[in-house]
Amino acid sequence: MILDQPLNVLIVEDEMLLAVELSFLVQEAGLRDVGHAMSSEEAVRLARALTPDLALVDVHLNDGPTGVEAARLIAEDCGGVVLFMTANVMRLPDDFAGACGVIGKPYSENAVKRALAYLECCLRNDHAPGPPPLGLILSPAFRLRWGGGVELAG
């Protein structure tokens, strides 16, 4: 992450319309949309090549429910922070596969905008500016890492 540069964001979503909407929201949040992937293989390949600061990852991709494993590889191998965006919040593993959190679908435009601004702040300072905005659930590991002693609202 280069401090005075926008954060690089990779979008991993097999629904084209959702990916396009996310791309708009990423750019409006002042972040840089560096690429789209629709399968887990493409996601991991792009993450390795582009080393994004943040990857927005759906669980169901066009090669099946492979987003969780892709997220684990991206988080472990590429140094990027992963945020899940899925309708299957309840089925994520307890450790969130190394991801920082999840936004449940169906999300609102407003919820994604707030979450992106919040995560940018967390990523740049390695500390949360406060409790996460409505709709964003942080993983236990990242709550600890970013939240410090702050009581974070679910």
């Binding site: 629904e15 319309l17 959702l18 679908k105 169906p106 407003n110 409505l134």
Partner: protein
């Protein structure tokens, strides 16, 4: 229990049945759960039927998750379609009705995000839902100088009223925020959810400009139709200043 089947003999009939079933495999796709034949219900059979029941239950649960997942994804897709089209319309007046539709779709989507989280799928807590919806609306529509306050008590309503209640609350809050405070006027909107006996009371109070004629026709029509649908009653009062709208809906368990 089974007079014709002494404990020592239970192994024999089971072997026989397995031998017979080779030529006639059970059809796992027909969705039917077969009850054991009384004469063959040794402990091994009971264990096997328990396994089959568990497998059938797992299959049904997976199916329910799949449907829930698809409904949520499709709501997301509808919302994204509206967002993308809104982005192409430059004229704010032309965009306004589409934004209103987006807000309504989001209200229904908020319900769906909440529904499967509750332990009882037949009921949902209006207060929890109202917190999500009103927070989202005040963040996306609100502005400096207009405070949005929540006064929420848990009220369980039937889940089949969830979408109607969501849309009613959406119209009332959107209306107060959009029309109550023109020309930079400051003030507050207070949303109250409370139980009153076996009735749910939703109250939206603003201290804005008031006046009933400012109510946009379609929003009011939605509130009227849906209140009727859930056998509720609405009341609009002059709050001097501003407006108070109360919707009362019966929510007894027998509803």
């Amino acid at each position: 229990m089974e007079p014709g089947c002494p404990p020592q003999g239970s192994q024999g009939p089971e072997d026989d049945e397995e031998g017979m079933s080779k030529g006639d495999p059970p059809d796992p796709d027909d969705g039917l759960v077969r009850l054991p034949e009384p004469a063959a219900s040794g402990s091994a059979d009971i264990a096997r039927y328990a396994q089959e029941l568990e497998a059938a239950l797992r299959q049904r649960t997976a199916l329910l998750h799949e449907i829930d997942h698809r409904v949520k994804n499709n709501l997301q897709l509808i919302s994204s379609l509206l967002v993308l089209q809104c982005r192409r319309i430059e004229n704010p007046e032309a965009r306004a009705p589409l934004r209103s539709m987006l807000e309504r779709v989001n209200a229904v989507a908020t319900v769906h995000r909440r529904l499967f989280k509750s332990t009882d799928p037949e009921r949902f807590d209006v207060a929890e839902f109202a917190r999500d919806l009103v927070t989202d609306l005040s963040q996306s529509l609100g502005r400096e100088g207009v405070a949005v306050r929540l006064d929420l008590q848990a009220v369980n309503a039937p889940a089949n009223h969830a979408a109607a209640l969501a849309l009613i609350l959406n119209e009332l809050v959107v209306n107060a925020l959009k029309h109550g405070f023109p020309d930079g006027r400051a003030g507050a909107v207070t949303v109250t959810v409370r139980p009153h006996g076996e009735t749910l009371e939703i109250e939206v109070l603003d201290n804005g400009v008031g006046g009933l004629e400012a109510q946009p026709a379609f929003g009011l029509t939605i509130v009227k139709m849906l209140s009727q649908q859930v056998r509720g009653q609405g009341e609009v009062q002059d709050a001097q200043p501003g407006r108070r709208v109360i919707v009362r809906v019966p929510v007894a368990e027998t509803e």
